[in-house]
Every structure is written in C-alpha cells, then in structure tokens.
C-alpha cells in the first residue's frame, strides 16, 4: 500500500511549500470559477467569460505600470468591461458576441500598450508572460488577503442572486413577467463573473481561468439533473481536476528526465479528457439547456 502510494505521489509532494500554496489557491479559484461558471454556461456567455480574462489582463499590465496591487488592476478593468458590455444595448445573442469581440480587441490592444510601456519604463520583460499565462507556483503573497475577500464576496453574491439569476437565465420572459429586473441581474452577473475571472486570471493565469470557468461547469451540466446539483458537481470536478493537475505536474518532473510539465497544461488536459469522456448523449436537464440556443436576455428589459 505504501509503495503504491509513493508511485502515485512522488516523495515530497505533501511537504513542498509551493505545492501546498498552489493547492489552496488553485482550489479556491476552481471553486469560485465553477460556481460562477454554471450560470455562465447556462446563459451562453462563455465568450464573455473568456474575454474578461483577456481584458482584465490589460488592468494587470497597467498595475505593473502604476505600481498598485495587481489584483486591483485586474478587478478594475474587469468591472469596467462588465459595465460597458451591459451598457451597449444589443438585441440579439450574436450581436452580443460581436460587442464582446470588439471589447476584447480593444482590451487586448490596451494590454499590448501597457505591456510595452512596462517594458520600456520598468524593464520587466517577464511581464507579458506573467500576465498572459500566470504561474500557480509563483503567487505574490501581497494579493492573498484581497483575493480571499474577492472570492468570498463572489460566492456570497451568487448565493444572494441565486433564484432570480437562475430564473433570468432559463426564461427571461417569465422572469420579466414576475417583476425581476432582468437587465440589472444580468449586469450583476457580469460583475460577479468579472471578479471571479480576475481572481483566477491572476492566480492561475488567463488560460486556466477560462478552463476552470467553462470546463467543470459544462461537464457537470452534461449529467446533472438540477441546477443546484450541477453547481455541486462543477465544484467537485473543478477542485479534483485542479489538484489532479498539480499532482501530475509535480510527478511529471521524474517522467521526462527533469523537465516538469506546466501545471496549466496538466489541468487543462484533465478537464478536456473529462469533458470528452462524460459527453455521451443523454436526456437530462443539461441536454435541454446545452442544445438550445442561448436565451435572448437582452430583448426584454
């Protein structure tokens, strides 16, 4: 038994400080992303979820320049993007994607500018890589208190919004008829989304932030029969793939002669494999949701 365990967990896995920190921070990012992600997938806003990561990285690049807490930069830019996406009134789901696309282009342009200014004024050439890809094993200690506040705040906001948000996501017309302020709920959801994405983008990088947001939620929605269960499954899947990925990355150091695989690759590969494996056609709550077109939330309101 002991030898079996040591095959699975390379010696020193549990004793390593960076691994412990990565497991805690990555796990927290996975939980927040999974909860918010279920609503994002149901509402058909995967693109917005991914765009937030790209756009908020411009805030990250700006914070290097201004010398402020990078999480504040990420959050500020994310909130700005959320508000402007909701302010541009659009009538169709495809037009909504277009606005998201334009915002992403502009945001990435800003990121390019700030990164360039970072490089010329502060000579931090690594900024581009840090901002775009993040590094789970190099999380600055200064952001942890604020990250905890943002993480708990997002979960709390989802708990408060749960029923109206679900109603708006599934049937906007019914929600409007019952007097739910559909647009306000949509805006609040985007702000929570921005906060969750900013949090995961800075801790685990932009790639993983999209993977953790969309992956576990869409896997869970493939077989969960109720939205509450889907959230629970998504959280479990998110945490399991994150920890599994960290373990694989740690172990891979011995597989390929001293070259460790990046954590982000390992986690993404696990999520992707899980999505493929669980994706057999079945009639569930999720099949109905996932096969339908995204609801035209904007037409009412």
């Amino acid at each position: 038994m002991r030898s079996l365990l040591s095959i699975l967990f390379e010696p020193g896995f549990f004793a390593s400080g960076p691994v412990r920190l990565a497991a805690v921070v990555g796990g927290a990012a996975a939980i927040v992303s999974a909860v918010v992600g279920v609503f994002t997938v149901i509402r058909g806003q995967s693109f917005a979820g991914h765009a937030m990561a790209d756009i908020s990285s411009a805030g990250g690049a700006a914070s290097f320049l201004l010398g402020i807490n990078p999480l504040l930069g990420f959050l500020g830019m994310g909130a700005l993007a959320a508000c402007s996406m909701e302010l541009v009134r659009v009538d169709r789901a495809s037009e909504r994607d277009l606005v998201t696309g334009i915002m992403t282009g502009a945001g990435l342009g800003l990121a390019a500018l700030f990164l360039y200014l970072d490089v010329t004024s502060k000579s931090t050439t690594g900024a581009a890589v840090t901002v775009m890809f993040g590094s789970m094993f190099a999380i600055p200690a200064s952001i942890i208190p604020l990250a905890l506040v943002v993480g708990f705040g997002s979960l709390f906001a989802v708990a408060v919004l749960y029923r109206p948000l679900l109603l708006c996501s599934l049937d906007a017309a019914l929600a409007a008829a019952r007097g739910v302020p559909v647009r306000l709920v949509g805006l609040l959801h985007l702000i929570v989304l921005a906060a969750a994405v900013a949090l995961s983008a800075i801790t685990v990088g932009a790639i993983l932030s999209t993977a953790l947001l969309i992956g576990p939620a869409s896997i869970a929605l493939q077989f969960a029969r109720r939205p509450g269960l889907a959230i629970l499954f998504a959280v479990v899947i998110g945490v399991a793939t994150t920890w599994g990925g960290i373990l694989v990355a740690y172990d891979s150091y011995n597989w390929t002669s001293g070259h460790g695989w990046p954590v982000s690759f390992c986690i993404v590969a696990l999520i992707f494999a899980a999505y493929i494996i669980t994706g057999r056609p079945r009639r569930t709550f999720a099949r109905r949701i996932l096969s339908a077109d995204p609801p035209d939330v904007q037409t009412i309101g």
Binding site: V41, G44, S46, F47, G49, H50, A51, R92, A93, S94, E95, D97, L98, T100, G101, I102, M103, T104, G105, A106, G107, L108, G109, L110, A112, L113, L115, Y116, T125, G126, A128, V129, M132, F133, I207, L208, T210, A211, I214, G215, S218, Q222, H259, G260, W261, P262, S264, F265, I267, V268, A269, I271, F272, Y275, G279, P281, L290, S291, P294
Partner: protein, 264 residues
Amino acid sequence: MLDDFMVNTWISASMIAVVAGVVGLFVVIRGSSFAAHALPLGAFSGGAAASVLGISPLIGLLAFSGLGVAGISQLGRRGRHEVATALSLVMLLGLGALFLSMTTEYSQTVYALLFGEVLGVSSGDLIPVAAGSGVSIALTVMLYRPLLLSSLSPELAEARGVSARRMELLFLTVVALTTAMALPVVGALLVFSLMVGPASAARAVTNQPLRAMLFSAAISVVTVWASIALSFVSNWPIGFFVGALGALAYGLGRTSAWAAVVRP
C-alpha cells in the same frame, strides 16, 4: 516610414487587411466572433510547437489552426458551440504552454506571436502571405452564395441542399487559413481585431452584402495603414492602434446606423 525596409510591411499588411476584411464580414454575419478569436489564439501555440520541433512556424500554425477547426466542429456537434470553442481554445493554449516550457526563447517569442512583428517582414515572408491571401479570397468567392445563404437563413439553405454543418466547417477552414497566414506578421490578437472591427462597422452602415464586403475591406486597409503609421511615429505597439481603431469604427458605425434610424 516609406523607406525600403518598410515596403514589405506595407505590402503584406495590405494583403492581410483585405482578406481579414472580406472573411471578417462573414464572421460578423454568422456571429462567430468567438471562433474567430479562438482560432488565431490557438494557432499561436502551433508557433511554439514549431520552434520546439525545429520546423517552419507556418506548418505549426496551419496544423494547430486545423486542430482548432476539428475541435470546434467535432465538440460542437454535441453541445453548445461556444462551450466547444472555449474548451478547444484552452486545450490548444495548454499545449502551447507545454511547448513554451520546452523552449528557451520565452517571452520575446510569445510577445511577437501574440502582438505581431510588422517591422521584420522579409521578401521571403511575402510569398506565403500572398499565397494564403489568394486561397482565402478564392475560397470566399467560391463559397460566396451558399455561405451567405447559410449564414442568413440556415433553414432555407438546408432546403436548397446546402448543409449548414459543411458550410460551418468550410467557413472555419477559411478563417483558419487566414489566421495561419496573417499570424506571423500581425500577431494572434491583431488578426481577430482586424476581422471583427471593420466588418462590424461596414455591416452597421449597409445591409447590402457585396457593398458591405467592399466597405469592410476598405475600412480594414485604412485601419492597418493608419495603425502602422501611428505605430511608426509613436513607437507604441501596433496592436493597440488596431484594437482602438476597430472599436472606434464599430462605435461610429453604430452611431451612424442609429442616426439613420432617428432621422426620418
């Protein structure tokens, strides 16, 4: 700005701008901006893979954008398209992170592939760009009628024997080809801005598809020229100008469309 070493930049950027404007109009009409964003970003990993394997970057870019097309269309059969797109994108980027961790050319390569390297275009680089542009334009012209029909009314197209799924696959292939060709010159993030910004502005101005296509190509070329000039003068990255001008074009297009509605 008009020195000899800039000539190749102007030529290649203009070709890419025309193709991006034309293909971009269909991206906008079909509402597939997420795919148009994901394919270049995923193909970017192919550049990293090529540098590890020591092959031509163009092959890596083509292979990875092909993988992206396969992922989006295969996964898209089961669930929502955007979930399929998001998952294909992160998988390709994950592979990119793996390949990048194996090379020594780290941040500089990433930066150039993401944000473009317009100033270093050699005469040899022009050939693949010209060939890619030619093929993309030819495919778009060939597909023009069925693609337009399938984009505007999938049901009517199906009734006439145009398979929506095949059109989607062909269209994504054209986007992937455009991407692979344009990426080394203008960067993964710029390709996308060029495809979406000018086309959306053109679409807001006119409803007539052929005219919209011409507008889109023209706005795209003007955007690129202005961006190169501004970037040359200010020394700021060209990506910033393309992104900002694209958003500006869209804003102006929406405003003028709105003004046309308000004015009787």
